[in-house]
């Protein structure tokens, strides 16, 4: 299990705890991560809605960097996953655009060949590591926790690009939670949107309303915390939760964990190593329970 590791911007920016916990957990699970230190931002949908060709060129370069290593590209962000897969989809199905993109890449001695895959940490944990192995590795079962999965949009939709599981009824995070000894909680916002991508255009009109609704949905089902495979969802649901609380005038206080942190806790890593203290919504109750 060796991967070209695409960190994305968030893990190198506002979510350092995601970067750290991913590295630690991957090592324990036997996943070797070769970081793509020359990779750039995927465009996050922003570049894509202004200059499509430029976004394809940037991501063809990112993909070509993984091709240089001959390794599948492992991402830890839903939006990165989708943007890279979308670019790959277009490059693989439109020979004319691919030729034009490669003409551009030639400037830097690179070529997009279409030889590697784009995958997400969650998918590899389930398919490559396997839940049986995960179960064997659990030293601290999360049995006292009710955990609310929050998939995040770009890992399940649109199905013609994601395709890993049924977007109407995904089960991967629930299965993982169960393998770690925890109890998955069904809640209304399981497959909902965190609001992140309209923040700068509709912070009050849309984004914070969704953030409040999602975290409240988990609270309503008495979840101890939420877990998400996406750092953008995390920033929105955790770091922006105080703004959402202010917006609706209700105290929510729902902690949100990154997926690798969840695994890390169960396989014996310390909350501090996993960066649980770096969350905006206090994870103290979780830390005390696992101690």
């Amino acid at each position: 299990m060796k991967y070209a590791f695409y960190t994305g911007c968030s893990a190198k920016g506002v979510a350092p705890e995601l970067y750290d916990s991913t590295k630690l957990v991957a090592e324990k699970l036997g996943m070797e991560l070769i970081e793509l230190e020359a990779a750039t931002c995927c465009g996050a949908g922003a570049v894509q809605e202004k200059d499509e060709f430029l976004s394809l060129v940037i991501n063809a370069r990112n993909l070509a960097l993984a091709e240089e290593l001959g390794l599948d590209m492992l991402t830890i962000c839903n939006t990165c996953t989708l943007m890279l897969r979308e670019a790959k989809f277009k490059l693989d199905h439109d020979p004319e655009v691919r030729a034009a993109v490669n003409e551009v890449l030639k400037e830097s001695g690179l070529e997009y060949k279409g030889t590697i895959e784009v995958t997400h940490f969650l998918w590899e944990v389930i398919d490559a590591v396997g839940l049986d192995k995960i179960k064997e590795m659990v030293v601290r079962p999360l049995k006292e926790f009710k955990i609310a999965p929050f998939y995040g949009c770009h890992i399940i939709r649109p199905p013609y690009l994601t395709g890993y599981e049924d977007p109407d009824n995904p089960t991967s995070i629930e299965r993982l939670i169960e393998a770690l000894g925890g109890t998955p909680v069904d809640h209304d916002a399981r497959l909902a949107c965190c609001g992140f991508h309209s923040f700068w255009s509709a912070e009050d009109k849309v984004t914070l309303r969704l953030t409040a609704m999602d975290t409240q949905a988990a609270k309503k089902e008495k979840a101890d915390f939420m877990v998400t495979p996406c750092p953008l969802c995390h920033t929105q649901l955790d770091a922006m939760q105080p703004e959402a609380e202010e917006k609706i005038g209700v105290n929510i206080g729902m902690p949100v964990l990154h997926l690798p942190q969840l695994i890390g806790l169960a396989i014996g890593l310390k909350p501090k190593e996993l960066g649980l203290h770096k969350h905006v919504i206090s994870t103290k109750a979780i830390i005390e329970k696992v101690a």
Binding site: V47, L54, E124, C153, H277
Partner: protein
Amino acid sequence: MEFFYLKVFRYDPTKNAEPYYKTYKLPVEKGMTLLAALFKAKEEQDPSISFRYNCRAAICGSCAVKINGHANLACKVQITHLLEKYNTDTIIVEPAGNIRVLKDLVYDMDWVVDKLKRIKPWFIPKEPPPADGKEYRQDPFDHQKIDYASDCILCNSCMSDCNALKVNKDFLGPMVISKAYRFIADSRDGAKRERLEEVLKDFNLEWCVRCMECTTRCPKEVQPYENIIRTRIIAAEEGFKSPGEIHAEIFENDIYNRGLLNEMLLPMRQEGLLGAAKRAPFGLRMFFKGKVNIADFFGGHKVKRHEEVQKIMDKAREMKDKVKIKIIPDVHTVYEDKRKSKKKEVQS
């Protein structure tokens, strides 16, 4: 499975103030659609159930409902598939979401029609008809831009599951913006700017959260989400300034200047100094939690081989106008996942 349970949302404001659910036990029949099941329940058990339908062939768009929480046409889905998909013996049918319910599964489409009127969903010719008396023509590349968008049957499935509409009914919604795109992108249409101005009022076009529910729900593969993005691209090309356009510029600049996004300096560039000041409580919170990289305030680090990035971005911008990107290879094509790890597992 011999039988299944159809749990139907019931509401009649003339009789009860609150909606309730009523469950009907029905035989599982091969090939039976959900619409056929609704008919069977109505004809044999409860004539009072109300639902809309017409063509029974996924053409008219009348029978969109929520099925186990997700919108689709009742006539397009089969009971056996649903029971298998959700691994259940119960199918829950509710009216489409984000809309006022009139009775049971029947909802008020006037609200959507009023939104549609705002974008003038009809062809407004740019020029008089060709002198040879033939119809308005366009080349195949121009046509493929609007081909899929033209397939919309106004069924409301996308509006039902839209996350932005869920929290703000003033959002135009995917169906309406997608319909606007169908004309905005039409090479023969003369009201492009007028329509763009309408969808950009209060930056409504950018309230979309990119949750992709609309594209996932659409029973006709119209791709409303992609059409929203295509509309944004056209708006940027036409020189409209918006928060989304500024945001995209910041991303482009950061990729060009350092490779990764500089999140620390994002608020100031997005909203100016005053706007950034408003974010001070957020910034401080992030700082005390160890989420702020001070170096980023002074530019931060660059990705390796960064000179390559600038070279290709310059070249890409130079070539941009010469490249014709088709909107999609084929609407039925799906991403073919060839993960090595997955393969390995299947082999072992």
